[in-house]
């Protein structure tokens, strides 16, 4: 589905990602773990075309999207839920989701999105900025799903969200994967959440993949040791 091939990303002179190779299978949930500053968010931004990659390829269904701009990547089927959610604060919930419809050309929010997140239907006239953190996170996911992605990128979705909502989010994400058979890449620091949803866990350290393991055989203590400070 998505193949990242020796991807390098640099901010100015300093290289942050030193040749990342990742393959994501259709319908797979991949968790990318790592401490702060190890390159998780940069990787997400590079996949989305927000950070410029200096070398390497990002192949979606075989065609390279590394040179495309963000909106063109969305049209090819990449959905993005950024760190900090970044919903449009002064637009209504409904309008926020509709912005995701730009590439599909649909007018109204598909009802399956409201089925996934009933709370958004209740609040569809409310301004996005007045929602709670957990609701904003759901809104950001709904907005990304509106563009019918083949790959969904989530950057630290549990950040600043209360534990009960985190559990619910894990369930929702698995449901989304099962319903739409899309691939999900989630960057995460919370090990329990990652183990809860992922099919495969990958550890990023200093801009390189240092560890990769299937969920079934994962050595929790080892992954945890990568995350401890």
């Amino acid at each position: 589905m998505l193949a990242i091939d020796s991807l390098r990303v640099a901010y100015g002179q300093s290289e942050v990602l030193h040749g990342i190779n990742i393959d994501v299978a259709p319908g797979e949930i991949l968790a990318i773990m790592g401490r702060n500053g190890m390159g998780k968010t940069t990787l997400m931004k590079a996949l989305m075309g927000i950070a410029k990659s200096t070398a390497g390829a990002i192949r979606l269904d075989g065609s390279d999207i590394a040179g495309l701009r963000s909106h063109e990547r969305v049209a090819r089927g990449v959905g993005y839920v950024p760190q900090g959610r970044m919903i449009f604060p002064t637009m209504s919930v409904e309008e926020n989701i509709q912005t995701g419809l730009t590439v599909t050309g649909e007018k109204d929010v598909p009802c399956d999105i409201y089925e996934l997140f009933p709370v958004l239907l209740e609040m569809k006239r409310r301004k996005g900025g007045n929602l709670s953190g957990g609701q904003q996170q759901q809104l950001a996911i709904a907005r990304a799903l509106a563009c019918r992605p083949k790959v969904l990128l989530l950057d630290e979705p549990t950040e600043g969200i209360q534990p009960s909502i985190i559990l619910e989010m894990a369930r929702t994400l698995k449901k989304i994967r099962d319903q739409r058979s899309l691939s999900i890449i989630v960057s995460e620091q919370v090990l329990s959440f990652a183990l809860d949803i992922a099919d495969r866990v990958l550890v990023l350290e200093n801009g390189e993949v240092v560890h990769a393991e299937d969920r079934a055989s994962v050595d929790e203590a080892k992954v945890a040791s990568f995350l401890s400070v």
Binding site: M48, G49, I50, R69, S70, H71, V74, A75, Y80, P82, M86, F88, P89, T90, M91, E95, Q98, T99, G100, T102, V103, K107, K127, G128, G129, N130, L131, R143, A144, A146, C147
Partner: protein, 308 residues
């Protein structure tokens, strides 16, 4: 200053000055709308906005001359053609400027001020070379001349009413475009978070160009309206640009209602005070008022409150 007039006279003065203020309000509002759209969208302070307005004014002048020479029978309706032409000309120049100049400076917002200021000087010289340094005026079609005698002492000019109706229509049109259309939705998304707008699939560059063109086009229409109340010269735009900025800041950028309210307040206080004191005193008093209010409410009159 009120002592020399009877109560009835004062009433008439306020109504008529209020109405004169409404024409000023129309020009301010159209100018500020364009500025606010562009500033809100791209953070670009368009110092050449006055020149886009004057381009519209010159287009109106040209149209009136063309109609006089080639179709005198249609002269009564030339103004509508002039407005459309003014909009198209200013919007086209706006799109060109965005492509050639502004789009290369998005990472350096302060430099866009300098660049657009330079552009404004260049345009002024172009106008001077093409149309001459002398101010030109348009001949109003007969049906727009004269005034409506409301009471013995109150007269309201017809062209003024026309300009206001036009402004109202354009403002409503812009409001619908920004708040009801899908395009407006995309514009607002880009305004709030450019990077994220791109990441949900909005082509931000195309939105930018269209927005800049729209803002400039509205300035062109403002220029069209301006020909009815003032004479057009190469530097006439300079007289309005500062006030228009004032309107945008005072109203709170990004708020359409705020822009309307602030254009109204500023033009009315200017116009009413102008009658009783001199023009510059009115300007000073208005400025002081605006400064005091901005000290109390730095975000402007109307700013939306949300969690960020």
């Amino acid at each position: 200053m009120f002592g020399d007039y009877t109560l009835g006279q004062l009433g008439s003065i306020f109504v008529m000055q209020g109405f004169a203020g409404l024409i000023l309000f129309s020009v301010f509002l159209l100018m500020a709308l364009g500025l606010a759209i562009i500033f809100g969208q791209m953070g670009v302070i368009n110092m050449a906005h006055g020149e886009f307005m004057i381009l519209g004014a010159y287009m109106t002048y040209l149209t009136s001359k063309l109609f006089e020479a080639w179709a005198p029978g249609l002269l009564a309706g030339y103004f509508f053609f002039a407005m459309i032409l003014a909009f198209l000309a200013s919007a086209a120049l706006g799109a060109l400027v965005e492509w050639a100049l502004i789009s290369r400076l998005y990472k350096r917002p302060l430099d866009t001020m300098l660049a657009t200021w330079g552009l404004s000087l260049m345009l002024q010289q172009v106008y001077r070379s093409v149309f001459g340094a002398r101010e030109v005026g348009v001949d109003l079609p007969p049906w727009m001349l004269g005034s409506w005698q409301a009471t013995d002492s109150i007269e309201i000019p017809i062209n003024g009413m026309f300009v206001m109706a036009l402004t109202l229509l354009i403002t409503i049109g812009v409001a619908i475009l920004m708040y009801k259309s899908r395009w407006g939705q995309q514009v607002r998304a880009v305004v709030q978070n450019r990077v994220m707008a791109g990441a949900v699939g909005i082509n931000t560059e195309r939105v930018d160009r269209a927005t800049f063109a729209l803002g400039c086009g509205i300035a062109g229409v403002a220029g069209s309206a301006f020909t009815m109340v003032g004479s057009t010269g190469p530097t006439a735009g300079q007289l309005y640009i500062v006030d228009s900025f004032l309107v945008v800041v005072f109203g709170g950028a990004q708020s359409l209602i705020g822009t309307i309210a602030s254009a109204f307040t500023i033009s009315q206080s200017r116009s009413t005070l102008e009658f009783f004191t001199s023009g510059s005193m009115a300007q000073v008093a208005t400025l002081i008022g605006v400064v005091i209010i901005l000290m109390i409410r730095p975000q402007g009159l109307f700013a939306t409150k949300v969690r960020r």
